[in-house]
Subunit: 339 residues, 2 copies
Amino acid sequence: MAPKIKDVAKKAGVSVTTVSRVLNGEKYVKDDLKAKVKRAIDELGYAPSHIARSLVRKKTNLIGVIVPDLTSSFYSTILSSIEETASLNDYNLLVCNIIEDTDKELKYLNVFKEMRVDGIIIMHEKLSDDIRSFINKLDIPVIFSSVRPVDHKFVSVIIDDYEAAYDATRYLIELGHERIAFIGGDMRDITSGQNRYVGYRNALKDHRVRTVNDYIRFGDYKTQSGYNLMKELLACEPRPTALFAVSDDMAVGAMNCIHDHQLKVPDDISIIGFDGSQLTELVRPRLSSMEQPIQDMGKITVDTLIELISDPTFSPREDLILGHKLVVRDSCRAFQTER
Amino acid sequence: MAPKIKDVAKKAGVSVTTVSRVLNGEKYVKDDLKAKVKRAIDELGYAPSHIARSLVRKKTNLIGVIVPDLTSSFYSTILSSIEETASLNDYNLLVCNIIEDTDKELKYLNVFKEMRVDGIIIMHEKLSDDIRSFINKLDIPVIFSSVRPVDHKFVSVIIDDYEAAYDATRYLIELGHERIAFIGGDMRDITSGQNRYVGYRNALKDHRVRTVNDYIRFGDYKTQSGYNLMKELLACEPRPTALFAVSDDMAVGAMNCIHDHQLKVPDDISIIGFDGSQLTELVRPRLSSMEQPIQDMGKITVDTLIELISDPTFSPREDLILGHKLVVRDSCRAFQTER
DNA sequence: TTGAAAGCGCTAACAG
DNA sequence: CTGTTAGCGCTTTCAA
């Protein structure tokens, strides 16, 4: 068995209280005793039990994180940023990868509750009723990152998805495109589904570009769905000359579809993605994208959550809206009348 | 404060023992009492404290995982598989993302020790002396996944990297290539560095293909280094006609470099990658790759670790060697004499 | 400055 | 079947 504080005390010839004191860096311990205790700790290879400490301190330094899909470029990057910030603040991460699995999510939320995690980060917005009511009666701080759920009880760290989608679409319009297709997300999602869609529509409307229903498709943010939907779009007559996809993954899927049909990006079709994930630089042509500040988003999420944890009265009723930024790479070009 | 077992007991009019019994699904509790207890639990929204339970049971159901880079396609996929398997077995994951940061790794290993995690999964092999000695005197089961460290005290779940690299190179040779370049990893790594390199060399030697030192470069497994090294290779005279890169990320970097120099894969240069990550299907042309069974690797890692945990005498002194598989896609073609 | 002892929330003998 | 009680390994009054 691992040595306990009592073993250290015995070996050092002091009381457990004294050991506890040097463990916690309190003063009021004479140097010679302190030295003795430290030696005993080393010799025993003693490490205080975080479990026992948590029990008495009522603080676990654990943060539970719910990620929709670890293998997505966007989420793995934001998680990486979350992990870094948490670690810097001496918090550890309990990670749950739910893959559209509501039962698993509920089970994990329950684990988080049993574990008495100090805070919870949730990164998807399609909350089932069970889950909604569960987190509503939870007395653990919850924060949403990159999404905002419908009922506005919790803080979210997000960008203005409407504006971002509007700006992305406008970019295409300003390049002279008039047949602009849209590959959207799940319309049950407010932020990444509805807001981005409305941003697209309004940009068209405000600039008097015709909205063609056939040019509008919805998918699940993943590469494969981008690919499939692009295939449908290629069958349209006339073909769109530009595409706005609401995730980089879908944009890449669309690019691949276009490539597989012997067409060229951006010569035949211009594409703009959304997220600003690492993928944008990995593909050829490099993907222009409406970037979310992924790193900042992760950091600010954790920083805010930690404030929430340490000061329960602190409660920014406002969401934290971060800035978006269009990053132009090589996947779009000005539209020219066909020759 | 969260309700405790005592509150439930009071509310249900029974002793804490009885509550504990229904919590743990023991028989020997009359149905009516059981019902009462369950109702009390519901009304209070009670969830047993995992902390307190762990303290008395001496089992945390926690697995600590050390990942080199969460954003890499390979590691995020294997982590995803690890998470799934762990979850299925009621284990939770404490995740540490070390980014070549030895201090952070040591700090986390210490956290794992303090947390009294039941087991530890490590996915990199460049162990510092501190870390080596730390895990050697740790009395928590440790397992390595996708790598094997030099001192062979722990179990590893890996493929035969030597054979895999040999087979990948032979594939290129059989396609008729004679100027085959190599982009390797870190030679301080046994599995992914040395073994893959020697596999490459021996394949050339066994098939009487000339080894050209200029065609051999080493990087850090990442896209950028693949890009940079390919740039150097393109400057060679004569240029290699094929490339074996020991990670898909580096292979994609090389592909991009080739593309940016107005050359074509596979027409000008054939490329084969290593890992079989999701990237292979994301790029164009699709990347042929020597695949590791990533999903299985994650699953087997966790399954084996759980055996190690539940039966300390159980100790497969042998590593678990999984099969590799060449998956041919579109990035290689037969070599034809230049016209 | 130091130590004894009372919990933190739960499980597990041991009685009844 | 059910309840009493003694810890699990630590922190924290309260005294000395």
